[in-house]
């Protein structure tokens, strides 16, 4: 599986260099970074929305495995956000002449990065597993509205003028072999993220099982505390 994936990535990378240069760019040969830039925000947005959905499922069920799935999506989504910024900054330099253009879309995506950086900051500040899952899940849900606003609404507001074209795919500006490569890279990245998601979730669920086993050992006879020691007991507030 992973060899097939590696081979596919190599083939598509070579293909992306073989397609004819696109028209309408300052430096068409360097515009190929678009192949890798374009799928990143789409996958990032999708993963962040799925992560919020898993957080919602955790809030409904209280099952920590949903939190593991949510974190896996958030981490992958964040990686794609970082790749969006990195490839976008390179594109900005080679096509528009500066690393940072104060373009509304660049800035709004930077805000999305900050929003989800705070998510990981919140997780790092909580020690209790259930509280961490619960509070970060609520944050992920409340971050959904600003994220959707910044990604889809803000760049399209009247008076907001961006270097990023809104309708480049819809109006057929990306066509022929160029469009095929874009689609191939998108499929590959989705495949890669599904693969990494499965590994991350498997590792997270194993971690949970290990913790459960450790708690079981601690409460069992093998490593029990002396009779004079009173252990704290988790008390549910639910009636």
């Amino acid at each position: 599986m992973k060899y097939a994936l590696a081979l596919a990535v190599a083939l598509v990378t070579v293909w992306s260099f073989l397609v004819p240069d696109a028209v309408g760019f300052q430096r068409p040969e360097l515009a190929r970074v678009f192949f890798w830039h374009f799928p990143c925000p789409i996958l990032a947005t999708l993963l962040l929305i799925i992560g919020a959905w898993f957080s919602f499922k955790f809030q409904r069920t209280g099952d920590l495995r949903w939190d593991v799935r949510a974190v896996a999506c958030m981490e992958l989504g964040y990686i794609f956000c970082l790749m969006t910024m990195a490839t976008g900054i390179i594109f900005s330099k080679v096509q528009w002449g500066a690393w940072w253009q104060n373009d509304p879309r660049q800035t709004s995506f930077l805000m999305v990065l900050l929003i989800y950086a705070a998510y990981f900051g919140l997780r790092g500040a909580m020690t209790d597993d259930v509280k961490r899952a619960s509070n970060s899940g609520v944050y992920a849900l409340s971050a959904l509205l600003p994220m959707l606003f910044l990604t889809f609404v803000f760049p399209r507001l009247p008076g907001v003028e961006s270097f990023h074209p809104n309708e480049s795919i819809m109006q057929g500006q990306i066509k022929g072999q160029y469009a095929y490569v874009v689609v191939a890279v998108m499929v590959l990245m989705a495949w890669l993220s599904a693969w990494m998601y499965r590994i991350r979730v498997r590792a997270g669920i194993l971690e949970l099982k290990l913790e459960e086993m450790a708690n079981g050992l601690e409460n069992g006879s093998g490593d029990s505390a002396g009779s004079t020691v009173v252990r704290p007991v988790r008390v549910s507030r639910e009636s």
Binding site: Q59, M111, L114, I115, A117, A118, G121, L122, A125, M126, T127, D128, V130, K131, S134, N135, G137, V138, Y139, L141, S142, A143, L145, P146, F149, L150, F154, L157, P158, G159, R237, E238
Partner: protein, 223 residues
């Protein structure tokens, strides 16, 4: 339900009137922000865009300084668990969010009066200004109340409340600034309809934040 949130609101108002620390801190912060703006721009004619941005920033940081305190103080004083036993989460949210809304309205009035006094900015449309300011207050109150609850059990909670709230409030600040710059534009260079669209959007965003916030708050508060 009704009596519950009113009781929480009365408790917060009484507590604030007794201590006065939250209101004084936030008002002082707002005054310092406006005086600093006035000091930095004393020889400049401030454009409506810049003025809207500066007013938006002063409001944003005043909200972040003052509003999370209403939740955090419960954990610091050890009264959070008692409140969980005695009150429904929705009542706690609405009581504290409405208190934060009143607090934010008072702070915004003070900051705006000082801002106009110190910077000598003109005003093109008062209803639009009031619409933008009230929408911003609603959204700030809902979001920061929720952020306070999220960090109540975290380490370094006061700083973390700001870190969580700022990114969530930035889209609102964009909308507030785009509405305020039209309200302050005495030369009528900006389209008034667009300003009202931003203002109405801000009020709707604020209403959505408050109504969704109540459900999200309940999920955090009960655990």
């Amino acid at each position: 339900m009704k009596a519950g949130w009113i009781a929480i609101l009365r408790k917060e108002i009484k507590s604030e009137l007794r201590q006065k620390s939250g209101l004084v801190t936030t008002l002082l912060f707002g005054i310092f922000a406006v005086i600093t703006i006035s000091f930095a721009t004393f020889d400049l004619a401030i454009s409506p865009q810049l003025a809207a941005g500066l007013l938006g920033v002063a409001m944003l940081f005043s909200a972040i300084v003052g509003l999370p305190r209403v939740i955090l103080v419960e954990e610091e004083q050890g009264t959070g668990d008692l409140l969980r036993l005695l009150a429904q989460p929705e009542d706690v949210f609405w009581g504290k969010a409405i208190y934060n809304l009143l607090f934010m309205v008072a702070t915004t009035i003070a900051i705006s009066v000082l801002f106009f006094g110190f910077t000598h900015m003109g005003l093109r449309n008062l209803p639009l200004l009031l619409l933008c300011l009230s929408g911003a207050c609603m959204a700030y109150a809902g979001t920061v109340t929720l952020c306070g609850a999220l960090v109540a059990h975290a380490s370094n909670r006061t700083a973390l409340a700001g870190v969580l709230a700022v990114p969530l409030l930035l889209p609102l600040s964009f909308m507030a600034v785009s509405g305020l710059r039209v309200a302050l534009d005495v030369n009528e260079a900006f389209n008034l309809t667009r300003g009202f669209i931003s203002g109405i959007g801000l009020v709707l965003y604020g209403a959505a934040t408050l109504s969704v916030g109540s459900y999200l708050f309940a999920a955090v508060w009960k655990r």
